[in-house]
């Protein structure tokens, strides 16, 4: 019908998605080129003129790049889904404990040594952990989804799941190597990601396709579940799908990169400020914008010599979150 209220002009709003894609393209090129290895040899490697260059490009930089993009898209889309689901723009997988659930699942899988048995152990345990956390949030938020209630439920869950993780870490029965891997998850890393990790997080693409047609019903749901139902939305089915998508996407990011904080909160929120609340625009922008954000943070991390991207996303995201809290009416 008409343009929603947005910080950008209607023309700029229409240009937002192409601009986001351009930004992503530029970041992809820079990410592939920048690093300890000379860009010229990467370029030669692209045409198979330099064996080592080709190796660095195809087996080091490209998998890392793809994992970063998919992690960003998945976390940002999860945040968007949860904000529409709970009708609360402070909801996000990390604040609600869904990411901690995935991390706890992953940590248990590593600590128990299941990871060496099967490649699937890590993503499966992460998804199970996230599902448990999602279920707990739903139970706690049953009698209202006011911001205080939701966030307090998240604080409690994060503390509980943090205790599970600490227990595994403090357990002297697990090996030093397993302990190091656990710490790696907790910090959120993209170092040494391989095509195995790309394969592990590739289902995010399928989730993104399934998310696409939900944009319009999400508009209605974000203004009230009963109202949406009376206007013709099948609310129960929609909410089940939204929660399943958000949980699985969050869990997969945890399985491949550990906890990468604040992406799910910051990216959808910032985009909503820029282009308004309509999901027809927000869904594609959240996917691309999330990829842009995590890729940019990873680039910053590599330049600054920080090994874990989760440190950068939180360093950027947490102050933004505090600014949002200040801005709330």
């Amino acid at each position: 019908m008409s343009a929603p209220l947005a910080a950008l002009s209607p023309r700029a709003v229409r240009a937002a998605l192409p601009v986001a894609f351009l930004l992503l393209g530029a970041l992809v090129l820079v990410s592939l080129a920048v690093g300890g290895f000379p860009p010229a040899r990467i370029w030669a490697g692209l045409w198979q003129h330099d064996e080592l260059g080709a190796n660095v490009l195809w087996n080091l930089r490209l998998p890392r790049l793809l994992v970063a993009m998919l992690v960003g898209a998945a976390l940002s889309a999860s945040g968007l889904l949860m904000q529409a689901f709970f009708r609360n723009n402070l909801a996000s997988p990390d604040l609600l404990g869904v990411a901690s659930g995935g991390a706890a699942g992953a940590v248990i899988a590593i600590g128990a040594g299941w990871v060496s048995a099967s490649l699937l152990a890590l993503p499966v345990c992460a998804v199970l952990g996230s599902l448990v956390a999602t279920g707990a949030v739903l139970l706690l938020a049953r009698h209202g989804t006011g911001p205080e209630r939701l966030l307090l439920a998240g604080v409690a869950l994060n503390a509980l799941l943090g205790a599970v993780t600490s227990y595994v870490l403090s357990n002297s029965a697990i090996s030093y190597e397993a302990n190091a891997r656990v710490i790696f998850w907790l910090l959120g890393g993209l170092e040494d990601r391989t095509w195995e990790h790309v394969a592990m997080i590739a289902p995010v693409l399928l989730a993104a396709v399934l998310l696409w047609p939900l944009d319009r019903p999400m508009d209605l749901l974000s203004l009230g579940a009963a109202e949406a139902q009376s206007l013709g939305v099948e609310v129960r089915a929609l909410r089940r799908r939204m929660l399943a998508l958000a949980t699985v996407m969050t869990a997969l990011t945890t399985a491949v990169a550990g906890s990468v904080g604040f992406v799910g909160l910051v990216v959808p929120h910032l985009l909503r400020l820029l282009v308004g609340p309509e999901h027809r625009r927000l869904v594609p922008l959240a996917l691309v914008g999330g990829a842009v954000f995590v890729l940019a943070c990873d680039l910053l991390a590599r330049i600054a010599g920080i090994t874990h991207v989760g440190i950068v996303t939180s360093l950027v995201g947490a102050p933004f979150f505090l600014w949002l809290l200040r801005r709330q009416r």
Partner: protein, 237 residues
């Protein structure tokens, strides 16, 4: 064929076996003291709150009507709305066409009928209570649904907008729509076809206002004494 049939509708602790039938084109008001079950009855009738008993719209059991078609057959206006996100007034009213494939028909007219044209581009989360109520009413009007269920639609409106809303509801009923809405202003009840009185979750009386609104009923249900006296009469110029 009735527009709305409720048979022994029950919600534990709130409604006890309410049965009701409204013919198409009925302009009906739902009255009763606070907590008597008006909102619950409207929610169950609208299919947004599960309840025991049978509900039919236009002779069809609600259970067999798919969600999308329900959006075309009935509109429900909640008593209060909380908008978290800053959709524009026009965008929210356009949501009334969701079940019609978002064709946008009648949206401009609905905005105009509730005096929202000037507010069309304003974000809904920055409106006053009465303005929000008019947005919800305009969205219900935009659905074009033959059955309109409104929960205290005029409670937050100023006198002129309340009178205009009431006039519009009467027009819709004369045009064949069925309107059921809850209200507290019993002086308005006299312009309705039917008044339905709820008391402590049960149906107490239903019928033409002059038959139902007797001094005894007002005393027994509301605990007030009715008396005719000269007073302030408000009407549209």
């Amino acid at each position: 064929m009735n527009a709305l049939d409720l048979t022994a509708v029950t919600v534990p602790g709130r409604l006890a076996g309410v049965s009701l039938a409204l013919a198409p084109g009925t302009f009906a008001g739902l009255i009763g003291p606070n907590g008597s079950g008006k909102s619950t009855l409207l929610r169950v009738a609208a299919g947004v709150l599960p309840g025991g008993g049978d509900i039919s719209w236009g002779g069809r059991p609600l259970a067999v009507i798919p969600a999308l078609e329900r959006g075309r057959l009935a509109a429900w206006v909640p008593q209060e709305a909380h908008f978290e996100f800053g959709f524009t007034v026009a965008a929210v009213v356009a949501q009334g066409r969701f079940a019609h494939g978002d064709d946008g028909r009648g949206v401009v007219e609905a905005l105009a009928r509730f005096d929202l044209t000037a507010l069309a581009e304003r974000p809904v989360n920055r409106l006053s209570g009465g303005e929000r109520q008019r947005v919800l009413l305009a969205r219900a009007l935009a659905t074009g649904a033959p059955l309109q269920l409104w929960d205290e639609p005029f409670a937050a409106l100023d006198p002129r907008h309340a009178l205009e809303g009431l006039q519009l509801a009467g027009e819709l009923a004369r045009g064949g729509r069925t309107i059921l809405f809850s209200l507290h202003d019993l002086r308005v009840a006299h312009c309705l076809d039917i008044v339905i009185v709820l008391h402590e979750g049960g149906l107490c009386a239903a019928g033409p206002p002059d038959k139902v609104l007797t001094a005894e009923l007002l005393r027994d249900v509301f605990g007030v004494r009715a008396r005719n006296a000269p007073g302030l009469i408000l009407e549209l110029p």
